[in-house]
């Protein structure tokens, strides 16, 4: 994440409740006082704002209306997310919802998304919600626990683990060996860390945590 994004991110908040928008924007202002924050209350409005502002991060509720006169539907939020992930594959996204379970329908799309993707339940305290925003801005992935069970590891993620922890390669060398870009390798890291439930913790090295968890799960010898 570059310095200007860190200090002054452009954020779009999408929610159909005026009071939720007010509370969310106020909370974001505490962490990012210089941020450019815009809002939208419908899926259509969100699309227009994204084209106009090109945000670094979109914070979206799932239950939203398509247009002003329509009622809120979870499917509208799901379809909007699907479209955003197709049109903007590196966009950082936070899903802020009181009921994020429907995201299970997008498991495949989330796994393939190259931007940050985190979920912040609306029951979270402000501090934790802001941590999810920060993780998404850093390009990390955090999905609900149930969506991670079964430990479905993609072949590419296992290859990254093997090259990093059995051959000691760094990301650049891993990218060359796998014939992909470094950005793609970073994307594999965030996805497999989410699958292993490894997230940033103060004072801990996330790569070492990943290695420990991967060994616990028997993914590497």
């Amino acid at each position: 994440m570059n310095q200007s994004i860190q200090a002054m991110p452009k954020i779009l908040v999408i929610d159909d409740h005026e009071s939720v928008l007010t509370g969310t924007v106020s909370g974001l202002r505490q962490q990012y006082p210089q941020a450019e924050i815009v809002t939208a209350q419908t899926a259509e409005g969100a699309q227009q704002q994204i084209e106009r502002t090109q945000p670094d991060l979109v914070m979206v509720d799932l239950s939203i209306p398509q247009a002003a006169v329509e009622s809120a539907q979870t499917n509208t939020g799901i379809e909007l997310l699907k479209t955003l992930m197709q049109q903007y594959p590196t966009l950082n996204i936070v899903v802020q919802s009181a009921y994020a379970k429907a995201l299970a329908r997008l498991k495949h799309e989330i796994n393939n998304h190259e931007g940050g993707f985190t979920v912040a339940d609306k029951s979270l305290p402000l501090k934790e919600m802001l941590a999810r925003v920060e993780w998404a801005l850093q390009g990390l992935v955090y999905t609900p626990k149930e969506m991670r069970t079964g430990l479905e590891m993609k072949h590419e993620w296992l290859e990254v683990l093997k090259l990093a922890f059995q051959e000691g390669l760094q990301d650049k060398a891993i990218a060359e060996r796998m014939q992909v870009g470094e950005r793609t390798v970073r994307h594999y890291w965030t996805q497999l860390q989410d699958a292993l439930s490894v997230y940033p913790q103060p004072g801990k090295n996330i790569r070492i945590q990943t290695e420990m968890r991967a060994r616990e799960e028997g993914l590497i010898d």
Partner: protein, 240 residues
Amino acid sequence: MKELNTALNCLPGDTPVQVPASQLEIYETMRWWHQRQALQLNAQATEIRDGLLQELFALRRGLEVWAEGNHNASSHHHHDWLQKIERLHQDLERISNHLSPPYLEESLPLAIQYAAESWRTHYPQLEFVLDSPVQRSSESPARSRIILTTLHEFLQIIRLNFPEVDSLRISLSLQEIESRLAIEIPDVSQSTLASFLASDHLKYLSQAFELLTLGKCLHQQRELEITWYFLWQEEGLRQQ
């Protein structure tokens, strides 16, 4: 309900079940009734999720942001209020999840997996081993709700009849022709087993399941272990 040894080979099997017209009519009626009930419950859950929980979120953020800007305010008082709001949020979430169990619209395996987490909390002395597919299922939300309710009620009956049981294995197998939910109960005594099999609750649950899904309930006993099977077919595969 039938003993598995005699019934498994003929029901539901590899071919669609032939259902008499009278039974099909009862099935359609029951299914309609169940779907209407489910619609109402889902609407109430949505009211909580899209209404009360949103207002509570706004209230909480308002309080948090206000406290940040008012360092002189009593932090103890403010902390108290935040805790009350959090408890209220959890209670409302629990009620909405009870009205409309999570993941019914997405995947039956996920819905069972999520429910199992709550059973583990509710029955800490009971070990649940869950063996279910990870893929999305093609079951309709209404059908998934019936399966989940059946499993929930079955667990209540087990707790009532076998208080000594400390582990259960639940296996879900979803196939195009025949799906199967199996619950394996180890180490049961002959005396409790007899009262379990004679239980009215078990009889009604089995009949309700069979009526609502046109499926079958079977059981198999091996020494001190009993396995209960709920079998059903995809809705489109039935023939009159």
